[in-house]
């Protein structure tokens, strides 16, 4: 696991993590350093391992549902959605359209809150504290909205097999619209404070360049891939839920550096606002739960794979059923595992400060890797 020792006398090892302000979780990166420069690096994972996949084999389909919010606590609803979609496909349940709209609205809100948190935390990695609190101020509005609807603020478990348990009301709709307006009025502030800041530009332009070839080779997805110029988004390439009904763009970068990944996320937030707005306008009336969903779910033998676009990339859920109340096997395809694997390539021959900047720009959520 450790790097080869004694190759060059002048290098030394620096443990970045597992307890470090910039790894945002229990990730450890062993850096082989020559002064300030990084010669080699080796991410060490597994500090927060909880055996999520094994747990699935020991629980019924419903009992396992809350686990999904713990895999990625920042975009919990997308994980909920993916798992629900997989089980629905397996059991042949079709959620009503209104439920799909509610799923899209809440999931996009959750994506916004995830990106806002990334935005703030990332600026903190670069040594700026103030944007962090501005972003949290905005994120708080989303949390309040979702709190009112779902009853929780972080590890949501809102979707059910066949729909959603609670319908949205006028107050929620009005709150969403107010939030959309508020966030749109904030872009100028963020541009002035961050995007146009000369230090920020110098820290991010042409640093940590991820070429499209490298990204494809490692299976990178999400904003990191789109930052390299490849417009791959599950919401478009394999449309699910109500996404085909909405008009939105897939922002891409040109150079694949940190700045591009940052800009892609920023523009993605604008697109999320557009999707929410359209969904609120177009939402149909009707039931929010499919009829006759059995309390005791016992899907027929078979296997199924579904994927959704989370804030960090493609999340896939592969379920094998042997016709029991419990799944025979579940495999979760998480985006951050592939995204982390490019890190050693990106931080080679950079400085410690760059390593922190690059690590932050990949937007890792460690429990997802250590599931």
């Amino acid at each position: 696991m450790m790097l080869e020792k004694g190759v060059e006398e002048k290098t030394f090892y620096l443990n970045l993590g597992p307890q470090h302000p910039s790894t945002h979780g229990v990730l450890r990166i062993v850096l082989e350093m020559d002064g300030e420069f990084i010669i080699n690096s080796d991410p060490v994972i597994g500090y927060g391992h909880r055996a999520h996949e094994k747990m699935a084999e020991l629980r019924t389909y419903q009992q396992y549902l809350p686990n999904m919010g713990r895999v990625d606590y920042l975009h919990a609803l997308a994980y909920n959605q993916c798992y629900c979609m997989a089980v629905e496909k397996l059991a042949g349940i079709t959620p009503p359209e209104r439920a799909e709209f509610i799923r899209v609205i809440t999931s996009e809100l959750n994506r916004l809150s995830s990106h806002l948190l990334w935005f703030g935390a990332y600026l903190m990695d670069l040594g700026a504290f103030t944007p962090f609190l501005y972003c949290f101020d905005d994120r708080e509005q989303i949390l309040d909205l979702l709190d009112r609807l779902t009853g929780s603020r972080l590890t949501y478990c809102f979707y059910r097999f066949g729909g959603v348990p609670v319908d949205i009301d006028d107050e929620f709709t009005a709150g969403c619209r107010a939030f959309i307006q508020r966030l749109r009025s904030r872009w100028d502030d963020y541009d002035d404070l961050v995007t146009k800041n000369v230090i920020f530009i110098h820290r991010t332009r042409d640093v940590g360049i991820l070429t499209p070839e490298l990204a494809l080779k490692y299976g990178v997805t999400g904003p990191n891939l789109r930052g390299s110029g490849i417009a791959y988004d599950i919401r478009r390439s394999e449309p699910f839920s109500a996404y085909p009904l909405f008009d939105f763009e897939i922002p891409t970068g040109e150079r694949g550096d940190i700045m591009d990944r940052y800009l892609v996320r920023l523009r993605e937030m604008e697109q999320s606002l557009r999707i929410i707005e359209q969904a609120l306008d177009k939402i149909p009336n009707g039931p929010i739960m499919a009829e006759k969903v059995p309390k005791r779910l016992k899907p027929a033998e078979g296997e199924v794979y579904t994927a959704v676009e989370t804030a960090r990339g493609e999340f896939g859920c592969y379920i094998v059923s042997k016709g029991d109340v419990k799944p025979y096997r579940i495999k979760l395809r998480v985006p951050c595992f592939s995204n982390l694997s490019i890190l050693p390539e990106l931080i080679k021959n950079t400085m410690v400060a760059d390593a922190v900047a690059i690590l932050g720009s990949i937007d890792l959520v460690i429990p997802e890797i250590d599931r």
Binding site: L126, G127, Y134, I199, F200, R203, A353, D354
Partner: protein
């Protein structure tokens, strides 16, 4: 004999005065930093303890005093324990020559500015001692960064100050204030002022130049292994340093104690705290520079600009 007694008494009174000022200043600046950051960041946090959070620093100080002083096992003990003291003492000495008002100055010597810069340069030694003796890689990296940074930024700082000295024709701080009786130097030397405030921010290790401690990269840099009061002394030195660089800026560029109506010492303090406010404002606005960018900025931008400024000043003085 009488002279010696008088001088001794004067020394004791000055020392008490300086230590009092340093403590009150630190308490006030910690409170001020909290308030400034909270206002910039739109958060109500520092309103909780006492009126407008006024008692927060006292609570902080009590907490720091109560904390255990942990000395890690493999540190180089003597250097490790000396570092905070070496950090703090030179800062105290700098107060000797600062003219708070025409009357209120401990020693108005003719090389006052040189003395401040000379003792100011010692803080890098303390940081190096702390980082080296801690036997911690983060601390070591922080210390190495600090040395490079201080060397890089002291040069433009001194060259910039030179252009003011050329105008005043003296290193004595009160002479420099006297020279600004008509017009403050900030109006005659705006570029020098910008250069000075940039270098001064770097000299005090404040963001965006807080490379030696770089929280998100080096955890806490050179003071990673210091806890409780030892950490507090580093902190105290940083805040006192801020006061000194701001006081020097006030003397060099803002006309020192000059101002209408209010007593001179009040004017002096207003200007000093205004400068400190600007330095704090930087901290809560900018991201941190990368180490090599920081050095490049000094060698390729600040030093040439400082030299140009010095040359132009010299030429203008020669012509006039």
């Amino acid at each position: 004999m009488q002279f010696l007694v008088a001088e001794g008494a004067r020394l004791v009174v000055s020392l008490i005065g300086v230590i009092g000022l340093v403590s009150v200043n630190a308490l006030f600046l910690i409170w001020m930093e909290r308030k400034v950051s909270a206002h910039i960041q739109l958060r109500p946090g520092p309103m909780e303890v006492g009126f407008h959070g006024a008692l927060q620093t006292i609570a902080d100080a009590l907490k720091l005093i109560g904390k255990e002083l942990i000395t890690p096992e493999d540190v180089d003990k003597i250097i490790y324990l000396l570092a905070p003291i070496v950090m703090f003492l030179p800062v105290l000495v700098s107060f000797l020559v600062i003219p708070f008002s025409p009357a209120l100055v401990i020693r108005d010597i003719n090389v006052g500015l040189l003395l401040i810069f000379a003792f100011g340069a010692l803080s890098v030694l303390a940081i190096l001692m702390a980082g080296w003796s801690s036997n911690n890689k983060y601390a070591l990296l922080g210390a190495i960064r600090s040395v490079a940074q201080n060397v890089a930024y002291e040069i433009p700082l001194l060259i910039t100050a030179m252009s003011i000295i050329l105008m005043a024709g003296s290193f004595r701080l009160s002479d420099i204030v006297a020279q600004q009786s008509v017009l403050w130097n900030i109006f005659l030397q705006p570029l020098a002022f910008i250069l000075y405030i940039t270098c001064a921010t770097a000299e005090t290790n404040r963001a965006p130049f807080d490379i030696p401690e770089a929280e998100s990269e080096l955890v806490a840099g050179f003071h990673t292994e210091y806890s409780g009061m030892r950490f507090a002394i580093f902190f105290l030195a940083e805040y006192t340093n801020m006061f000194i660089v701001s006081a020097v800026a006030t003397v060099l560029f803002l006309g020192g104690w000059r101002g209408p109506v209010l007593p001179p010492v009040v004017w002096f303090l207003i200007k000093v705290y205004l400068m400190i406010f600007i330095i704090m404002w930087f901290r809560w606005t900018f991201p941190r520079l990368r180490f090599d960018q920081l050095i490049t900025f000094s060698w390729k931008v600040l030093i040439p600009l400082a030299f140009v400024n010095l040359l132009v000043t010299a030429l203008v003085i020669k012509i006039l």
